[in-house]
Symmetry: none
Subunit: 399 residues, 2 copies
């Protein structure tokens, strides 16, 4: 895709676009399904109806053979080159808990851990303490004051938290202090930059505060990353976008490109449908809807759970659509094949319905049908131009 | 493909990869085969079995419409951008005979030729002298001494030899002396650089030595090229690679990317199978196996010979596989359609078996089946990331 071309051709109109992401949707042949994939095996009358009247294809998340993390996979779907727009783990963690990062903030992931009397790490996750315990421990750390920066400590989940330093000219060339294995001391922060001094002081103060806590008597830091602001989806594509996503991670990535994050009750498609409706009523013309359970099932290797997750999404689809969209795209961010129990590099089926679409050989929504679809195979970053075009939001190039 | 992305994600493991190249594999519809291609017409039960359990696609060697030489075609298969990593013919010739080129060496191809008494070229190949005669003539030239460089002259095959100059600051901006047609004098080497002076002196001394030989009484030089070292396949992809190839050219290209070149007896698949086994036992985890006869048959326009060559490879396939590979890729370096008797730009069928693969609509190995395969069409340089991913040798990109 030519850089900057789409942006120059954007023309606004009243069309509404839904980008529905079934996380980890793609899969491979599964023996217990007679060689079918969960999407092929699932009963999905609603998606099949859209497929029959729309266009199908397969998207490649990053590049052939490259397995994406969730962050880059979603950035690709939003039209952001995931290699150009890289997001560090610390930044994702902070965005994921809804923290409003500012340009230049230095963020890192925290793991509460257990040290023995010799300072050796004996448990890198402090026995996977509860989230309540995590919140309690974070409360003890939020008062740490370090000269030259404002420090924010935020609970995430179980033994996971994150820290954000806000100051001037911070750098993120700081190695993980997590040794990666028990039986070793935390890796010391060396380096003479002001940022190294700040992190060393934070670790020292945290160690003093936590030293008598059991089992979480210290912290390990990972994924130091500076936050840099991305051009927003509004600036680039003229879209007023909203995210309906339950999990912090996806809310975080959506926030990174300037989407408004809708409130909605967890694990509940009815709540999501309400949030979609509210977002449209609130003047948004692009809704990113995130559906998590298929990915979790894939990571568990649970074929039936993945089928159920896809079927659940399909049953809920009419409630998402009744708000009225001109263009609907249903896809996944990446594949999470059940036999692998991992994200993978395999391409992901894409369905676009609404606007003028060409029909291919496909009549239902699945990996195989998508292979015979009118859209062919293409990069994830090409979805956004296809959606904008389908919605009449792109002008002609040249005379 | 993003430059350098794959290299950053490489993770080593014990998986073994076979890249089997049937040279010139791709073809087009042939009337005498009822519109089928030789690969479609050939009986290939072994490859069809792998196809049914693997993933198929088509690779584009350089770019759509571009016909590759064997050098760039193979570099693409090895994951090297063939336009970025260009190799001159002189360099390929020297590598092809196993000469250990050093960075900065200037190499050129030699053709022994026949001049008449007026110095006009009457035969550009000196009557295709025997390889024994070639060796004999080269023996006469190896003692040429030129100030400022060390000179190596190497026999290749029949009327073909090559020359390498080793010195400082040599350049390869030197035109062919081969006029390309009989009835003309050799093209003189003009230019005032030290390298021009060296080549002129070499030609003059060679002319004196050969002047009474018949029919090979002079030489023509072509394809001047400086050797530059490429990053090795080990550095880039973490692979300990070996080449099982009978022809010098392919051994040369494999050597260029740092593969170990296995000894094996010529024209004999049993010998090749032994070499494959030995390479694996020697600790190699990536084997490049080259099979030449299909290309030669294509260049001869001999449809039945091409079918036989493909069938011969198929019969030998179990012997190549019995050493134990986790991932097997079978493809060609380019198409050599029989009706064209030439290399062509047409895409080339690719079969990947092993590792988690998605199935498409294909159930046998052919151009048409590959069109309906799960992998779609892609650039030859994308094969290596797909193989690494299939073998579990690539980590996830981003969180």
């Amino acid at each position: 895709m030519y850089r900057g071309l789409v942006e120059k051709l954007v023309q606004k109109n009243d069309s509404k676009i839904l980008l529905a992401v079934i996380d980890g949707l793609g899969d491979i042949s599964i023996e217990e399904l007679g060689g079918r994939t969960p999407l092929e095996a699932a009963l999905t009358p609603e998606m099949d109806r859209l497929a029959a009247g729309g266009a199908l294809g397969l998207h490649i998340p990053i590049a052939r053979g490259i397995t994406p993390g969730s962050g880059p996979a979603h950035l690709g779907l939003f039209g952001y080159d995931p290699v150009k727009y890289q997001v560090g783990r610390g930044v994702l963690a902070a965005l994921g808990v809804g923290f409003k990062l500012q340009h230049g903030d230095l963020a890192a992931r925290i793991n509460f851990c257990t040290l023995n009397e010799k300072g050796i790490v004996t448990d890198r996750r402090a026995g996977r303490i509860s989230t309540e315990k995590c919140v309690e421990l974070v409360e003890m750390l939020v008062d740490i004051r370090i000269e030259g920066v404002v420090t924010f400590v935020l609970p995430v989940k179980q033994h996971r938290a994150c820290v954000v330093f806000r100051g001037n000219d911070l750098i993120d060339d700081i190695g993980d202090t997590d040794p990666g294995l028990v039986g070793h001391r935390p890796v010391p922060v060396t380096g003479s930059d002001e940022s190294h001094r700040i992190v060393r002081e934070f670790l020292q103060k945290a160690g003093e505060i936590l030293k008598d806590c059991n089992p979480a008597n210290f912290i390990l830091l990972r994924g130091f990353a500076l936050h840099r602001e991305f051009p927003s989806i509004e600036e680039r594509f003229g879209l007023t976008a909203a995210a309906v996503a339950l999990y912090p991670m996806y809310r975080g990535v959506a926030g990174l490109v300037g989407m408004d994050i809708m409130k909605c009750s967890p694990e509940d498609t009815t709540g999501q449908a309400k949030a979609v409706k509210k977002a449209l009523q609130g003047g948004h013309d692009f809704i990113f809807l995130h559906h998590k359970p298929a990915d979790s099932a894939g990571e568990d290797g649970n074929v039936q759970a993945k089928i159920s997750a896809i079927e659940k999404f399909d049953r809920a689809l009419p409630s998402f659509l009744e708000s009225g969209f001109d263009v609907v795209c249903i896809t996944g961010d990446h594949s999470t094949p059940c036999p692998m129990k991992l994200h993978s590099w395999h391409s992901v089926p894409v369905l676009i319905h609404g606007g003028p679409q060409r029909s291919g050989y496909s009549s239902a929504f699945s990996e195989k049908q998508a292979l015979a679809g009118a859209l062919g195979s293409f990069m994830s970053t090409e979805i956004m131009p296809l959606l904008l075009a389908s919605a009449g939001k792109l002008a002609k190039f040249g005379a």
